[in-house]
């Protein structure tokens, strides 16, 4: 083992290899230096405890370090939001690349790190394209397919041909001086520069938030034009190899045919793999933990397969993502879907960062720089001008067919959004230096064009969009009513088309949907998943989840430990339960007396009094009933509520196969019921049409002890969880003098064992809760809680149905004391609700 002082830095990042074999005779090179002499004098044949194997890890180590460094770079300038608000991230990353490149060049006197086409096309690009395809808004994408294809095919060909020809024309004019370029090479150059780059476009437009149609046009074009670019590039490349004299009509026709094959073949490969992927996810239930991996690997395989068949790999992976998203998301478990989403973003964002940094680094290399002012400037001008001309001409044609024509400002943004990026650079880098003698000039020109479009156009895009008052995307928050309205709207449009006998977009879409529903879904989607497919239901579900979450947060802020403790379970349960129970739960929402639900019978026993006054009358009559009964019932009730098997919140065990938190069915069920009850009791019925008596019931439940424990004032009762969370109901009562809560009776009833009431033990009078000092500032706790509690339609609204429904969940508890209802009216039972 050698103590290598000169590599102290590496020592810090040490890999400890305890039993290493120095006898293998491998030369140890650390940053190109010969292995240092073994100064400890021990024989090489002996065992060394620690040794440095830089050469073993060089490759992966450098890769990892680069990823780390680029990540750090991003971190650094994300610290300053003002900076990223004005200059797009992509431009900043390129600048950082300049700096890093300068450092490397300063150290090595050569550019050792450049973006090689292999790295770019095989490792960096697929992730970004997959991400784009997977998150593609399908309806929008296919709805604007015509326009997108027009721009992608005609626009790209136009760009390539005009730029190539114009440059050649100018070259013939002699402005560029002596260059060894012929027409074909100019065409080749034009074709590699023709494509609008998806990576650059995404990076800039994601921050600008233009309206969705505009975005999908630019972005869709940048994705789909790859097929065209690759074909143009390959054809021109082949022509350059063949030589000008061997090109004839047959070759040109072959070129056109190859375009069709490459583009459609690529798309087809993508679709085939999407089908495979969907089928695969149908049966990955038992290997949930690697389920997300399939998405990435199969998509990547589609990319490689297309590449292997010399089809358009970008189109393949795009279509793979576009086609599989729906089925995959439905088939996989919810956690896997989330994993895929995040992992996809991590990969895509990571590659994007690396690409831009390396675009910057690549520039700091004197070897590639060949300056020809006329060539470079003219290329820039031509690229810009022909893009503008192309967009306006194509839009003019398109507008004759579009129902909603593209406006002038849209066209300006479209043409200005023609950013070139790493694809062009990588293609230029791939040029064969032997055939194309001015390769370096082309690379440097491409780099200049890329920098110009990404940096200058990227920076000015936002001000331009603002200045032109381009329609921006509106807020994206989902609202149920909008979804409903949109749905109704779609049906109306279809119906009108049917009635008027027109065959339009809506008609076609409807036919496709029918087809999809009838044939594709049964094949590609799990039968269990098909049920959950309705988008409206998903929105409803998500909104409910959101409400519950915000409620939990609120509850925590109010100091309830019940939520802190069981938050995990809450989330978990919500997801599971909601989906399965929703149909059971729903019946009670608005029909007080409907007997449709399985739980309604016990419920209606208790709650059949629709008019509050009747309810109170009953209470008056029953007031004299013996306390013992009540106590028994109450005890029973409390036991029912809180007695359950030993509780394990979180089992700390390691398993590579599963990640479940808490698998005990009963336990989960139990915790779910309790948390739901606690939380939802507090929701005031915000719904119109729910009768008063319903609202008051839970309050009554809490107030049952009142009769007995009048001696407790609410100060010493503190406020239990139940009190806090039912304060909407009970709050008014409590502050009205009816202080004691269910908790106090619990202590009276002798059930003090905290083990049985883990959620509420802190609230017993003996243990002063830590926050009571804070709370006790002259305001009755319950009142305060009432003030703090989130109650507004916007906060809690959508949970209302659930609130009622949870009662159906624990209605068996209520059913235990059908006679008790109304027996123990709180002394100051409010006729109207507090607040």
């Amino acid at each position: 083992m050698g103590s290598k002082m000169e590599s102290s830095l590496l020592w810090l990042l040490l890999f400890l290899c305890i039993f290493s074999t120095p006898t293998d005779g491998k030369p140890m090179t650390i940053l190109g230096q010969p292995p240092p002499a073994n100064i400890s004098g021990t024989n090489l044949t002996e065992l060394s405890i620690v040794s440095l194997h830089w050469d073993h890890v060089t490759q992966p180590y450098i890769v990892a370090l680069w990823i780390f460094v680029t990540g750090l770079a991003k971190l650094v300038f994300e610290l300053n939001h003002k900076l990223t608000a004005t200059i797009p991230e992509s431009a900043l990353l390129i600048f950082i690349g300049f700096v890093l490149g300068g450092m490397i060049w300063g150290a090595d006197k050569a550019q050792t790190f450049t973006l090689t086409p292999v790295t770019f096309f095989y490792y960096l690009l697929p992730q970004i394209i997959l991400d784009a395809g997977y998150f593609m808004p399908n309806k929008l994408f296919f709805g604007n397919m015509g326009a997108i294809l027009t721009y992608a095919i005609l626009g790209t060909v136009w760009n390539a041909v005009t730029v190539g020809l114009s440059l050649w024309g100018v070259y013939l004019g002699g402005i560029m001086g002596d260059l060894k370029i012929n027409l074909l090479e100019f065409m080749l150059f034009g074709s590699l520069l023709s494509a609008v780059d998806p990576v650059a476009v995404l990076a800039v437009f994601e921050e600008v938030h233009v309206n969705e149609v505009l975005f999908i046009l630019v972005f869709g074009e940048s994705l789909l034009n790859d097929g065209v670019t690759v074909v143009l590039y390959n054809v021109c490349d082949a022509f350059v190899t063949l030589g000008a004299d061997r090109i004839n009509a047959v070759e040109i026709i072959k070129g056109i045919v190859s375009f069709l094959v490459v583009a459609f073949g690529g798309a087809l490969v993508g679709v085939v793999f999407a089908v495979l992927l969907s089928l695969l996810t149908r049966c990955t239930k038992n290997i949930q933990i690697i389920e997300p991996g399939f998405i990435f690997i199969v998509s990547y395989l589609s990319y490689l397969t297309a590449e292997m068949l010399s089809l358009s790999s970008i189109l393949a992976i795009t279509f793979c993502g576009v086609c599989c998203q729906k089925y995959v998301n439905a088939n996989m478990a919810e956690s896997s879907v989330t994993t895929v989403r995040y992992a996809m973003k991590v990969f895509a964002n990571g590659s994007e960062t690396i690409i831009f940094v390396f675009l910057g680094i690549s520039a700091i290399d004197p070897e590639i720089w060949v300056w020809n002012t006329a060539f470079i400037l003219l290329t820039l001008v031509f690229v810009l001008v022909y893009r503008i001309i192309g967009v306006f001409a194509l839009t003019w044609i398109l507008n004759r067919f579009r129902l909603i024509p593209l406006e002038i400002i849209d066209q300006v943004v479209l043409s200005y959004g023609g950013l070139r990026g790493a694809v062009a650079y990588a293609l230029a880098f791939m040029l064969d230096g032997n055939k194309v003698r001015e390769k370096n000039l082309m690379i440097s020109t491409t780099l200049i064009v890329v920098y110009f479009t990404v940096v200058l156009q990227g920076v000015t895009m936002k001000p331009l969009v603002t200045w032109l008052k381009v329609k921006r995307t509106s807020k994206t928050e989902v609202s149920l009513i909008e979804k409903l309205q949109n749905r109704a709207f779609d049906h109306i449009l279809i119906a009108i088309e049917d009635i008027s006998g027109q065959i339009g977009h809506n008609y076609m879409r409807e036919k496709w949907n029918k087809f999809e529903e009838k044939w594709l879904r049964p094949i590609l989607m799990k039968s269990s998943a098909r049920k959950k497919q309705d988008q409206l239901f998903n929105v409803f579900h998500q909104l409910n989840l959101k409400d519950a979450m915000s409620y939990v947060t609120e509850g925590e802020r109010c100091g309830s430990l019940a939520f802190v403790r069981s938050e995990n379970n809450v989330n978990l349960d919500f997801k599971k339960k909601l989906a399965s129970d929703i149909s059971d739960i729903m019946p009670d929402i608005n029909s007080d007396s409907s007997d449709t639900g399985p739980y309604t019978i016990p419920m209606t026993c208790i709650m059949q009094d629709n008019v509050p006054t009747v309810c109170l009358d009953v209470e008056e009559d029953m007031r004299g009933k013996s306390m013992r009964d009540t106590e028994n019932i109450n005890t029973h009730h409390v036991l029912q509520m809180h007695l359950y098997k030993a509780r394990k919140q979180h089992r700390h065990r390691y398993s590579r196969k599963e990640m479940g938190l808490n698998k005990d069915e009963n336990e989960v069920q139990e915790i779910f019921q309790r948390t739901m009850r606690n939380r939802l009791e507090s929701f005031k019925s915000t719904k119109m049409g729910v009768t008063q008596s319903k609202k008051i019931k839970p309050a009554k439940k809490d107030q049952i002890p009142n009769g007995k424990h009048k001696t407790h004032s609410f100060e010493d009762a503190d406020f239990s969880d139940d009190n806090v969370f039912s304060s909407d109901f009970a709050g008014g009562v409590a502050s009205g003098g009816g202080g004691p809560t269910r908790l106090s009776i619990r202590s009276g009833g002798g059930i003090e064992n905290p083990a049985f009431m883990p959620d509420v033990d802190h609230a017993s009078p003996l243990h002063t809760p830590p926050w009571s000092a804070v709370v006790d500032d002259g305001v009755a706790p319950s009142q305060r809680a009432q003030v703090q509690l989130p109650w507004s339609p916007s906060n809690a609204s959508r949970l209302t149905p659930l609130r009622i429904s949870t009662r159906s969940n624990d209605s068996f508890i209520l059913a235990d004391r059908p006679t008790a209802q109304g027996e123990q009216p709180p002394p100051s039972q409010p006729k109207s609700t507090p607040k």
Partner: protein, 214 residues
């Protein structure tokens, strides 16, 4: 009616000016009208119900009803009729003409928007009292979801409730527990759908040449 078709070309010209359809489009629509009505001069509900493509549309009754709703004839009349003439048919259809957005003032745009939304509103407000009540809305949602088998009637009710609450919270803001939300008025309707660019969406493509019909 007889006079109407004795000089159809003139009449079509009038209709074209009145509704914004091109004369060719009117021709096509007229053909369709005849086809639907079995060469009669008026359409009845049954004729609509016989359209095969429409059969599986979940909210078809509402849509059909819209054709027989006097409110949609742009005449300030209220109520519903038993049969509609070609003119009425075209007028209802004209709600779905694309709006020429460019060279349009903000005011005109807003007017178009209101007009289109009014059509939708009327469709939901079946009793014409100016509000979409919970009952009415529930009915819409139930029908809307009736075809997706997985969602039961109860869920549909829940969704309708939640949507209604959402409207209440958007339009009224914080409500007191005792407040009763009457229903969606037209103003509220405008407000909740302000993010949907109805003027750029509520349209279908009406063909100009007859071959589209075959």
């Amino acid at each position: 009616m007889g006079a109407l078709f004795s000089a159809p070309d003139d009449h079509f010209q009038d209709l074209s000016e009145k509704t914004g359809f091109s004369p060719e489009q009117i021709q096509i629509l007229h053909k369709r009208f005849k086809q639907l009505s079995n060469d009669e001069d008026s359409l009845r509900r049954d004729d609509f119900n016989n359209i095969t493509d429409l059969a599986c549309n979940p909210i078809r009754t509402q849509i059909i009803e819209a054709f027989f709703d006097k409110r949609n004839y742009r005449q300030n009349a209220v109520g519903s009729v038993e049969e509609i003439s070609f003119e009425q048919f075209v007028i209802v259809m004209s709600h779905f003409l694309p709006v020429p957005l460019h060279n349009m003032t903000e005011e005109q745009r807003e007017r178009m928007r209101r007009e289109k939304l009014r059509f939708l509103f009327n469709m939901h407000d079946t009793d014409n009292d100016g509000t979409i009540t919970l009952e009415e809305y529930k009915h819409v949602v139930e029908e809307l979801l009736s075809r997706s088998g997985a969602i039961g009637k109860e869920t549909a009710k829940g969704i309708a409730d939640a949507a209604m609450l959402e409207v209440a919270s958007i339009t009224v803001g914080r409500m007191n527990p005792d407040d009763f939300y009457e229903g969606i008025t037209f103003d509220h309707f405008l407000k909740i759908l302000k993010d949907i660019e109805i003027e750029t969406k509520m349209h279908i493509r009406f063909q100009n040449n007859a071959c589209a019909l075959c």
